[in-house]
């Protein structure tokens, strides 16, 4: 029996002074599967993604990552295993230039200069950002920010990826490029959960589709 990478056990979550967004949800995500999470606006998809990454902590139930209860894990610890892309990429970029955005974590983790350079330039190339490498990230267009945010997440080589609406603001060509990259990662054995409305994108990539409605899973198709 394969171990789930992320397991949610009877998880409930409500924002401060609000009705619950997620109510008693259980779910197992496997590294071997590419899982798509869909559902109408306001059905709790983003909240679910944030709970899985530990950005939001559930009031009830627990989230188990790699067999460990994540309640005892620091966000930084989870971040070493799981890469997360925010719905609004503007929320996760913070460096003064595009290339520093990508190299930021590598430097702090003690990678050698040569390794950083090669990984950064590779990543700039993959995401078509080479000619923007010195630009100020906040001034990029929405689509460029999106590509930068994904590049910065991937360069850390996480084991599992959670992407919230990764195709927003990307044109057709770049959506195709992104799905090629994700397919490549899948072959390398990186687990993935993608929150998306984009049916074409999902159909091409997903092995499993979870449909949410009103904070519950209404369909789970493999």
């Amino acid at each position: 029996m394969i171990e789930p990478y992320i397991e949610l056990d009877d998880v409930s979550f409500a924002y401060e002074r609000c009705a619950p967004v997620i109510g008693g949800l259980s779910l197992k995500l496997y590294k071997e599967q590419f899982t798509a999470i869909t559902g109408p606006n306001g059905s709790g998809k983003t909240t679910l993604g944030k709970i899985m990454t530990g950005i939001l902590r559930p009031q009830k139930g627990c989230v188990i990552i790699c067999g460990r209860d994540s309640a005892g894990m620091k966000l930084g610890e989870i971040g070493q295993r799981i890469g997360y892309l925010f719905q609004n990429p503007g929320l996760q970029i913070f460096a003064p230039s595009v290339q520093e955005e990508i190299s930021f974590a590598l430097g702090l983790k003690g990678c050698s200069k040569e390794e950083i350079d090669s990984r950064v330039s590779r990543s700039l190339r993959d995401f078509d950002l080479t000619n923007l490498s010195d630009a100020f990230p906040f001034k990029l267009s929405r689509g460029e920010k999106q590509r930068l945010a994904i590049a910065a997440v991937l360069v850390n080589k996480p084991d599992f990826l959670i992407l919230d609406e990764p195709t927003t603001g990307l044109d057709m060509e770049r959506r195709r490029a992104l799905s090629d990259i994700l397919l490549g990662l899948k072959e390398k054995g990186i687990g993935m959960a993608v929150i998306s409305h984009d049916r074409v994108f999902i159909d091409r990539l997903a092995d499993r589709t979870i449909k949410m409605h009103g904070g519950e899973i209404v369909e789970d198709r493999t």
Partner: protein, 247 residues
């Protein structure tokens, strides 16, 4: 419909808050200050503020208050020496008294501000507009006030984002941590500035200031309790001040 102090008009709250903070600023006596603080806490709770939630949230910076009291007493020594170190008067009775008064004063201002926070920004703006404050100024004030939460949001997002890149901030050495923080200041501030500029642009693209006048869909009406609160707080504060000055 909210009842009692919870349904108070923002204008009445404003008067109440101004009265409380005026008392806090003028009065030196620790006994009276403590009493004013107690009244502020009682009123804040009655108006439905989340005072205790906030205190719990900010409990980490409560030691700052103690630090202020100590610093105040070091720099303004007077009276009997309580603690000294190598001839330097560290804590004196007079200094300590002033320090405590200072802390009480700050607490009064902050606690009474939580009463204001029970109204949302639109209600406060509307209160000002109905008090004949020009609407441009009222809205500009609310935009300016919004900058602070924008900045804290931005900081929170960046700290989350950094950790999600697999960096355990409390594990890296202090010197490097300072470097990381200083590296992040510029983008955080400019991010908040850009965002507030975009919000201001959005307001203009929705015809803000197209005409010298503006209708308000929201209309505030004063109830009997509002008049009671305004009159009571004005009279009580004036009387307290007069008595305090005379005695």
């Amino acid at each position: 419909m909210k009842t009692g102090l919870k349904g108070l008009d923002p204008r009445s709250k404003l008067v109440l808050v101004l009265c409380l903070s005026t008392l806090g600023v003028f009065i030196q006596d620790i006994g009276i200050l403590t009493a004013v603080l107690c009244v502020s806490i009682a009123l804040s709770t009655a108006s439905g503020s989340r005072l205790f939630v906030l205190i719990r949230k900010f409990r980490r910076i409560l030691w700052l208050f103690v630090a202020i009291a100590v610093i105040q007493s070091i720099f303004a020594p007077s009276g009997r020496v309580l603690v000294s170190l190598g001839g330097i008067k560290l804590i004196t009775a007079g200094g300590l008294y002033k320090g405590v008064a200072m802390v009480l004063r700050m607490s009064i201002v902050m606690v009474s501000a939580t009463i204001m926070a029970t109204s949302n920004s639109r209600e406060i703006v509307q209160g000002l507009v109905q008090w004949k404050v020009p609407y441009e100024i009222a809205f500009m004030v609310s935009v300016a006030i919004r900058f602070l939460p924008l900045l804290t949001d931005e900081i929170k997002n960046v700290v989350t984002a950094v950790q999600l890149r697999g960096i355990e901030l409390d594990r890296i050495p202090a010197r490097q941590r300072v470097k990381v923080y200083s590296y992040l200041i510029m983008p955080v501030v400019s991010g908040a500035v850009i965002k507030s500029r975009e919000l201001a642009t959005t307001m203009e693209t929705r015809a803000f200031r197209a005409y010298p006048k503006r209708t308000s869909y929201m209309v505030l009406t004063m109830q009997r309790i509002d008049y009671t609160v305004i009159i009571t707080s004005l009279i009580t504060s004036i009387l307290t001040l007069i008595l305090y000055i005379k005695c």
